[in-house]
């Protein structure tokens, strides 16, 4: 190796070390908003306003008081909001994964003209912004019942998954359709010849193969539904059901009158599950998001 090359290598290494240093600083700044929430969750109300960026001092530190206070804040138990958020997210995601994958498989395999047109309608729904349908959708959810004319209305946490399935089907169908088309037909034909009907073929043969797309779609739906504010706010019966975003916005609506320390504690509680979820399935999340972006 010549001296010149060695020098170039050393210079490159030095540059890389410098970039690591610079990015470490940027990363710390990047985390600052979360850190500010963390430190303010343990301060009393007045200190959140006046000393937003300083660490809790003996006089501003209130321990877990904010968390205790926050639990019953705004005349609505926070635990209930968390519960409803979890119920809605889990039920909706499960329903979307099951139903849209079946529909996408059916449409891709039958592939009649009607199926293709329905499929284009699903794809079309992806570009329609929520504001276009929000008023009529919330009215529909207020009148339609689970089984047409009887059963619970669609405005409860237990039935809102149907609304999510309907409004969110576009992206899921689109992603599943792309993957189903890449599965060779021979595998399913072999299953049929062995005596499997369509339902058995789907669940025993196709469903396991859809796993990677299931994870990607599932991640996208979880992130969307857990953080969604406007759809549940308009669809749910507001006096009875809140989700975490609705709860936080409700508290902010009464800005000034609200205990900021307790609100910070609630915000901290609401981002902890997200961060834990992220750290646990980071690889899948990043892959799913990239897949959704490239296709959507």
């Amino acid at each position: 190796m010549s001296d010149k090359q060695k020098g170039g290598l050393r210079a490159r290494n030095r540059r890389r070390r410098m970039l690591t240093g610079v990015f470490s600083v940027i990363a710390v700044i990047y985390l600052l908003p979360v850190v500010v929430v963390l430190i303010n969750a343990f301060k009393s109300n007045s200190f959140v306003k006046t000393q937003t960026f300083s660490l809790p001092t003996p006089e501003s530190f209130v321990g877990v008081d904010n968390f205790v206070k926050g639990m019953t804040f705004g005349n609505y138990p926070f635990a209930k909001s968390v519960l409803y958020s979890a119920v809605i997210t889990i039920l909706s995601t499960a329903l979307i994964l099951l139903c849209t994958s079946m529909a996408a498989w059916y449409m891709a395999r039958v592939n009649s003209r009607l199926c293709r047109n329905i499929y284009y309608l699903f794809v079309f729904s992806m570009v329609v912004p929520f504001q276009m349908v929000m008023f009529t959708l919330s009215k529909t959810a207020d009148t339609v019942r689970l089984f047409g004319f009887w059963g619970p209305k669609l405005n409860t946490p237990w039935t809102i998954p149907i609304i999510y399935l309907g409004f969110g089907a576009g992206l899921a169908v689109f992603m599943f359709n792309g993957f189903v088309k890449s599965i060779p037909l021979e595998i399913e034909e072999a299953a049929s010849i062995d005596g499997c009907g369509p339902i058995r073929t789907y669940f025993k043969v196709v469903f396991p193969m859809l796993r990677p797309t299931m994870i990607s779609v599932g991640i996208l739906e979880i992130m969307w539904i857990w953080n969604d504010y406007l759809l549940p706010y308009l669809v749910l019966d507001r006096n009875e059901y809140m989700t975490i975003p609705i709860h936080i916005q409700y508290l902010q609506g009464s800005y000034g009158a609200v205990d900021l320390g307790a609100t910070m504690a609630l915000i901290l509680l609401s981002i902890i599950p997200v961060i834990v979820f992220y750290l646990l399935c980071q690889k899948h999340i990043i892959k799913g998001v990239a897949a959704g972006a490239v296709k959507g």
Binding site: M102, V289, A293
Partner: protein
């Protein structure tokens, strides 16, 4: 009579395999299709119909023609929010993409800790818009309080505040797409450029960026549609404040919410105090849909063209 081999097999196969599957539409297609009809098709069609009606609830709609569209275009707040949104979209588009590309470029240079940095930069993406807006309003007010002001008091504070918030949230997302694009740049092309004595900058301009065009197209349109559809962050950060009041020549008082974007303007028209304006709101929503749809079609065209070129 009896044909041999393949033809016979295929005819037998398609007869048995295709036909029964089709009959199972009740199991496979109906649940999604029914929910889709309730959750999308019906509200969408009804929405288009109502944009030509005067109504307070969906039951008392009365056909009035294009009047709603006329009043939508006459609404100063709506026109203002369009230009405000467009300006925001352009600024956010440039900033987010340049920064995200720069970060992605550095992180693919085999620097130490690249994975950790990627984890950190992507993290804000998972926090919901409402919570983000609230966190940042506390942060901005924490700083602005030293100067005895607030993000709710100046239009430009609200504008740049939202730009900073969106950068914080979206850079990580776009970075992921750019990293995937950068990793797909053929190694032998970079090698060839190096052997030909190209400088780092030349390699970037002549080899990396041309190969990255698909990623650039995706990210450009994603930031554009995200900005136009932005609602949660806008609502939670400023909610439209500060307001500007003006008495029009005909004596009516007009209010412009100076940091209100399109989606929020539509929402406020729907659910504001004046329930007679709901027809106008629905007309605005249709125009909004046409705008977002046009951007999406442009995106489709752009990606198609790129594919042809390759």
């Amino acid at each position: 009579m009896f044909r041999k081999g393949k033809t016979n097999g295929r005819a037998y196969g398609s007869g048995v395999l295709r036909h029964p599957k089709k009959r199972y539409w009740v199991v496979f297609l109906l649940p999604t299709a029914a929910a889709f009809a309730i959750g999308f098709v019906w509200p969408f069609l009804q929405g288009i119909y109502l944009s030509f009606c005067s109504f307070v609830t969906t039951a008392d709609a009365k056909w009035i023609g294009v009047g709603n569209y006329v009043s939508a275009f006459r609404d100063r707040g709506f026109v203002y929010s369009f230009w405000y949104t467009a300006l925001f979209a352009v600024v956010a588009l440039v900033l987010i993409n340049v920064l995200a590309f720069a970060v992605a470029y550095v992180l693919t240079q085999r620097i130490k800790g690249a994975n950790l940095f990627r984890t950190v930069f992507f993290m804000p993406n998972l926090i919901g818009g409402i919570v983000l807006g609230y966190i940042w309003s506390i942060l901005f007010d924490g700083v602005l309080r030293w100067y005895n002001t607030s993000i709710l008091l100046e239009t430009w504070y609200g504008f740049w505040g939202l730009v900073i918030l969106m950068c914080w949230q979206q850079i990580g997302y776009m970075m992921i797409i750019y990293i995937a694009g950068l990793q797909a740049v053929p190694e032998d092309m970079l090698e060839a450029a190096r052997i030909d004595g190209a400088s780092g900058w030349q390699t970037l301009r002549r080899v990396t960026i041309p190969n990255l065009m698909p990623s650039i197209t995706i990210c450009t349109f994603l930031t554009l549609t995200n900005s136009f559809k932005l609602f949660d962050q806008n609502l939670a950060l400023t909610g439209g404040a500060p307001f500007q009041f003006k008495t029009l020549p005909d004596g009516t008082l007009s209010t412009i919410k100076t940091t209100e974007m399109l989606a929020l303007n539509i929402y406020n028209t729907f659910y504001g105090q004046n329930s007679a304006a709901r027809g106008t709101a629905q007309a605005k929503a249709v125009l909004f849909f046409l705008l977002v749809g046009a951007i999406s079609i442009a995106q489709l065209r752009a990606t198609r063209n790129k594919e042809v070129q390759q």
